[in-house]
Point group: C2
């Protein structure tokens, strides 16, 4: 092998992350920019790979390291292992992708019984020198020599007891010297080996420790969790130590070129005088704001400002930097693109665009579209969170944070809201009967159900925070009790939920309102400029529709008519229809529903103006409209004047083993065409009314659900068109319309050519397509899907991001077959995936006409669509 294993910091640059890791590449880049960096060299990631595979170093590595060490010695005028002016090293991991804290780091390397004396002399701080030394030994013993950590802790405890001190920091230099001796004895006893005094031996072992840490448990877990794949290993950065703790002219700090929380274009950071890096993080002393450094060390501060501006300009992104000042001399230890909140990301991208630092496309690509969600919802006050008690975790089913009193019953939620109380509806799971209560509640917490359970879907549609599927809680709906661990909560107790993160807190926590600043609006119009994919919304009410329009929705891709069936008198009429034994009886009930549905649609058309509206005909199985609890059934029996026995028989008769695959969707309208007729009539009559009101043409899009067979669609289309003809002839008005279908059954995708002969549009119902295509019930799979994702069976939850290999393949088949038969076919998606960035990008690739998602996801979808369009160009 003639590979180059080691790069001196003058030999690399920022483009070499793959082999030098992020840290190493940026150290080299800073050196190139004449930024003051302590001399360093980097062992490549390939070397790590070699070491892991062969459990040994490449032949020439030792020599390479020694040569590079010499360069550092020359530059710093120190000597590795030197008894006068010892060179101490930091040995730090650094992969191509940042994995903060996951791998090992060794500081102060080079200390031994002799160099510790030299350090003590140089720093003027004997205690510090010995504390470093004992930590160094402890780490070595533990990580590299396999000595139990607890043995060192025991020795430390003993020495504290012997000296009657409480904290480590209270130990004197003498105590620490003694501790160093005891540590060395422990190592000898446990391993039969002496702690290595030879600095190069220390270095060799430390490099190996870092190599090995690439494959420690937490690092593997972190890569899995963050989908980091295809990397060879970690690089190892070996750098001359500099000390911020050498008195009042020394210090250390962390700083950002802009505010990572708000995005404000203002230098941000904190530092400590006479301290080492760890002290800033540890919080023993409170760090000071970076702005105060200007007064304390004006020269160094000005230099730092010059450097950060230089680095930001050079990297064209906000920088997160570490620095140390040693006896008045500023050193930069690290720089990288800074992590930031969603809000900051938008602000920074738009500011840098304005400053001319980046162009429009870059600005769009800079922002993680998912993070926009944070901007649209209430969030918890970070200060409040610090002292809060986390009760449980669940799925982040619908974003936003909110507090309220616990209620266990939907009606109760409504009553409390009427009284002006804020409540959180807590249920084992929710059902369509709970809609009214969910709407009244501030947020929803459920024990069961996944990201696309009823609670989650409805809550997202309503824009209400929801934590679902929290397996850590047990809800006793009937006893009105919520049990979490050994705590028990009753109605009226306060809790706070954070639906963005899926966390439940005890009591009331302060929340912060979202503010859609100018930069957000700017980003949206920029996205509109670049994206090719349309973005519609799923909205069932005029209220939802208005919210969605305010977020930029270009139409409604899915209006679920059944949600309108649950309110007040309507549910009565619906139940009357279900319980009728004759067409006449059903017709009578439908006649009552007609004006209500018509009114709904008029409201929605008005809210949407000239934007298209796709209305889906009745979808859920009829049993969803009947009560489940005994007392509700008794009440209904009285209400409807139907014998309890007969009512129960009917409920029993409508019961289904697998309602997902049962008598629902267009199957209902095949059995009861009168339902489709009433809904069609309401849609068309409302279009006539609204178009007169608004003075503009309204072209409703009627969508038939759950088509599995082209003949079903033909039958439905005939009924719909016949009804439209009737309405047009009665009202003597012309109405244009479109008739299309959901593609949500695998067979529909496979036979899309036949369906496309009759349909004007397809809308992919990827929720059901996922359920049926993967054979996974979204309500039941929560129990094992997490394990499936952690085992890598699915890369992500297929209900969150489209399973491209399976469901995506069905979509591709349907699109190819559909367009082949009908080149004018409009193609959309109205499953929950329509608002998930990866899925949106996939839809762009597939060439869909639009995606449709819940109102709060509209901005995300727009940005993701713009990113997809830009990425495609490149």
């Amino acid at each position: 092998m003639n590979e180059k294993y080691v790069y001196y910091f003058t030999e690399g640059n920022k483009s070499m992350k793959e082999i030098l890791g992020g840290k190493g590449a940026n150290i080299a880049e800073m050196k190139n920019l004449d930024v003051p960096v302590p001399p360093a060299f980097t062992i490549t990631t390939q070397t790590c790979d070699f070491y892991i595979k062969n459990n040994s170093w490449p032949e020439t590595l030792e020599n390479d390291i020694k040569e590079n060490l010499k360069k550092i010695e020359q530059e710093t005028q120190t000597f590795f292992g030197g008894e006068e002016n010892p060179l101490l090293l930091s040995v730090r991991s650094g992969a191509a992708v940042s994995m903060p804290g996951m791998m090992d780091t060794v500081l102060n390397l080079g200390l031994n019984d002799k160099t510790v004396l030299a350090l003590s002399k140089k720093s003027g701080n004997e205690r510090f020198a010995y504390d470093s030394y004992r930590r160094f030994i402890q780490m070595f013993g533990d990580v590299d020599m396999g000595v139990k950590h607890s043995l060192f802790e025991e020795a430390l405890d003993n020495i504290k007891k012997e000296n009657n001190v409480k904290f480590d920091t209270d130990l004197s230099a003498e105590n620490l010297k003694e501790l160093v001796n005891r540590y060395k004895k422990i190592i000898l006893k446990e391993t039969g080996k002496e702690f290595p005094q030879d600095p190069f031996k220390q270095l060799e072992l430390s490099i190996n420790v870092v190599f090995k840490s690439w494959n420690n448990k937490r690092a593997i877990e972190y890569r899995k969790l963050n989908k980091i794949e295809g990397l060879l290993g970690t690089a190892v950065n070996i750098q001359a130590m500099v000390f911020g703790n050498m008195g009042q002219t020394s210090g250390t700090g962390v700083c950002f070129s802009r505010n990572p929380s708000t995005g404000e274009n203002k230098f941000y950071g904190e530092y400590l005088i006479n301290a080492q890096g760890e002290d800033v993080v540890a919080g023993i002393r409170t760090p000071e704001d970076i702005s105060t450094l200007e007064q304390k060390m004006p020269e160094q501060y000005n230099e730092l400002v010059k450097i950060y501006k230089n680095l930001e300009n050079h990297y064209r992104d906000m920088q997160d930097m570490e620095f140390t000042i040693q006896e008045g001399k500023l050193y930069m230890l690290q720089t990288r693109n800074g992590k930031r909140t969603g809000k900051a990301a938008v602000q920074i991208a738009m500011d840098m665009l304005e400053e001319g630092l980046i162009n429009e496309k870059e600005a769009i690509l800079r922002i993680d579209s998912k993070s926009l969600d944070q901007l649209l919802h209430k969030s918890l006050d970070p200060n409040a969170v610090k002292n809060a008690t986390v009760l449980a975790r669940g799925l982040p089913a619908s974003p936003g944070a909110v507090f309220g009193k616990i209620v266990f019953d939907a009606d109760k939620a409504f009553d409390e809201k009427e009284k002006g109380n804020k409540v959180i509806l807590v249920r084992t799971e929710t059902s369509p009967e709970d809609i009214k209560g969910m709407n009244a509640a501030e947020g929803i917490l459920t024990q069961r159900g996944g990201m696309t359970s009823h609670a989650a879907v409805v809550a997202r549609g309503m824009g209400k925070p929801c934590v679902s599927g929290s397996s850590e809680i047990v809800v006793y709906d009937k006893q009105e009790k919520l049990v979490i661990g050994d705590k028990s909560f009753k109605e009226g107790d306060f809790i706070t939920i954070d639906g963005s993160l899926g966390v439940v807190y005890e009591g009331k926590l302060d929340v912060v309102n979202p503010s859609l600043e100018g930069s957000f609006a700017k980003l949206m119009s920029l996205s509109d400029k670049y994206r090719k994919l349309g973005v519609r919304t799923n909205a069932d009410t005029p209220k939802d529709a208005k919210v969605a329009v305010s977020f930029g929705a270009e139409g409604i891709g899915l209006c679920r008519t059944e949600h309108m069936f649950f309110e007040g008198d309507r549910i009565k009429a619906v139940r009357e229809m279900i319980l009728s034994e004759s067409l006449e009886g059903r017709q009578k009930a439908l006649d009552k529903l007609l004006p209500m549905q018509r009114e709904d649609f008029v409201g929605i058309y008005e809210a949407m103006g000239n934007r298209p509206v796709t209305i889906r005909l009745l979808d859920p199985p009829l049993h969803e409209f009947l009560p489940k609890e005994e007392n509700d059934i008794v009440e209904l029996s009285k209400d409807m004047d139907v014998s309890l026995e007969k009512l129960k028989e009917k409920i029993e008769d409508l019961h289904e083993f697998n309602p997902m695959l049962g008598h629902r969707g267009c199957r209902l309208a095949i059995t009861y065409p009168e339902i489709a007729k009433m809904q069609t009539r309401a849609i068309i009559e409302a279009a006539i009314i609204a178009s007169e009101k608004l003075g503009q043409e309204i072209v409703p899009e009627i969508m038939v659900p759950l088509i599995g067979n082209s003949k079903e669609f033909e039958i439905q289309k005939e009924i719909i068109e016949q009804t439209i003809k009737e309405v047009i002839s009665e009202k003597e008005k012309e109405v244009k319309y479109k008739i299309g279908t959901m593609i949500e059954i695998p067979r529909a995708a496979l036979t899309a050519d036949k369906i496309a002969e009759h349909a004007e549009f397809f809308s992919f119902g990827t929720n059901d397509l996922t359920q049926m295509g993967l054979g996974l019930s979204r309500d039941d799979s929560g129990k094992f899907l997490k394990q499936y994702v952690s085992l890598g069976i699915y890369k992500t939850d297929p209900f969150q991001s489209i399973d491209q290999d399976g469901v995506g393949q069905l979509m591709q088949i349907a699109i190819a077959k559909g367009l082949n038969k009908n080149p004018n076919l409009k193609l959309g998606i109205c499953g929950e995936h329509g608002g998930e960035p990866e899925s949106v990008k996939f839809c762009h690739k597939l060439g869909l006409t639009y995606v449709s998602c819940s109102p709060f996801r509209v901005p995300i979808a727009k940005l993701a669509a713009a990113q997809a369009a830009i990425l495609e160009e490149n």
Copy 2:
């Protein structure tokens, strides 16, 4: 148009069914064979099509008819409308495919006020002449002139009252003359038109009546029901009337060249002296056995024998014939291939093969494979059925007929069986807990569930008669009451069910045992000779396996291990496993199950000998193993020493909204690998034991259920192989094995290439593939699938016959992708479709290695496979 609309009976032949209809083509063929046939001509089916489309005759048709009429007149020396020797005609429909009784027929045409006198004179029977005349007028008035049938009936009633007679047959010739007058007046009054006296006008109208009857309601319904498609219309056969009622030298009869019920090669039929065709059917006089004709009219009988032998030889199939003897002269009116029972079909085909009349391939193609089912099961004594009371109809879920006392409880069924009583288990629906009771019962009747419901699948597997999904019955499981209409039955009441037809009878009806005669065995070995597709069976117990082997199964394609989990101590151990909170607890329970499973497998290997056995790992969701009823739960709580609250919590926790798409199949073994390990160990240890016992190598095929993702399979395979290695090393024995998977989730079919990289075989689970691919729950779709089939949305119930466009497409995709990656992949099917002839033929076309079906369907599958292979050659 220069088409030929009319064929004289010397111009056609049997190959012209398409244009002359079956009847017309065979009349012409008989004429060609010099069989005595009354002269006739046939108007083509194309003419019918023309008439229906244009509502008029083609220009030249009238002339053609008149010319052909003249030929008949010349041949018979009679005259159409003649006042001396009148020609009377029969006008009969006749399509290319027999549609018995669906379309109209007119007899005695040509009668009017004058010819009736001539007929009276010729027949010497005035009453007969006028009765024919009034019937002719009545039919005309009703069908062709649109007069209400009831008006004629009223007139007939009046005349009977006036003359104090009870039956039509008691009316005198004078009475009938008067009735003819009144009928004519009714027609005049209602239509303003005279009854047409012109015979050609009568003929024209009658031809049109027959044409129109092609599209009457019942004919359309019949074609839909029998999937008769692509025909143009009916031909019209116009033939000189001959009379069997002209005294003691005349007669009429129906005969078969062989016994259509048993297949015996013996002339079979019945006749009446001095009678017309209708009289044989009407049953006013009891017809005599054809053998007695030999004595009464030896000459005519011998001629008839000569003719039938000639016709059978000519048509090379059993003939169903009509004949009339008019004053000593024999006429053949019709011949066609006779309908026959399954038993007769096999007997006749094998006899004809032996006689050299047909060859092997023809013999195989002659038999409707479905009809074999009748041969394998008990059937109702036809005499008993005649007087039986049909209580209800349901689905013919599992064939065979049986009677027994009603029981509503599975345990009760077992107890009664122990006491020696025959019982029918009657349930709303069955669940896996009922297995023991189902096995004890003679038959099963359920209110709910389709052809592939639990009851149906298990009953077919056990070979027990079952009627499922009988929506006409209401079962009150708890009250132990069965209500059918206004009748109520309790435990102990006798009922009889016919699972072949889906009928429930009151009381005990006699049943007849199946007898597998030599011809059946001959047919099976013939099928084995020609078929290319393997035929295995689905069997879960040594008993089932033995039955299947006796029916010729070549292996087990599906052994469901879970069925073994429900018996006695096993269900206890299974529940113990489910209720365990720890791996240790589960392992303890599994350790108890291991020896039982191992014993099961040894028994199955022994029953199957050197035939392959595919064993599927645990499939159903765990909640199926826990009780549902309160008292059973209380009992279990005591049995298991688990608190009732905790038990209920566990049951609640395992509850699923859509268990079909839930935590089952390999998903269980992903969560609890110890289950797959135990089962693998049992399979391999049993193979070692059985191979020693039998002195032959046993190569178990281990099948992983519900794979949706190749990674799932990889994980399962690793667990299985690891366990096998352990067993092999413990036992120090070599065992060969195969590991494969079900393809039953659409995604598995779509990603079959990836799965095939690791799997040695695929077995299509077409039940689930249908459920998921079509989004149809087999347990819930019974309610609307009938309507779907009658609307033509699906041609047949997709759970009975593979939906080739949808599920078939998924199979094709899976096969193509699978073989592409792994050319050695074995391909089978183990869904219920494996025993359905059309599906078997489809599987042959797809190139599967084998089909697997319930034991009683093995012969059907073999025959269907042979037919598919032969048809493919042609």
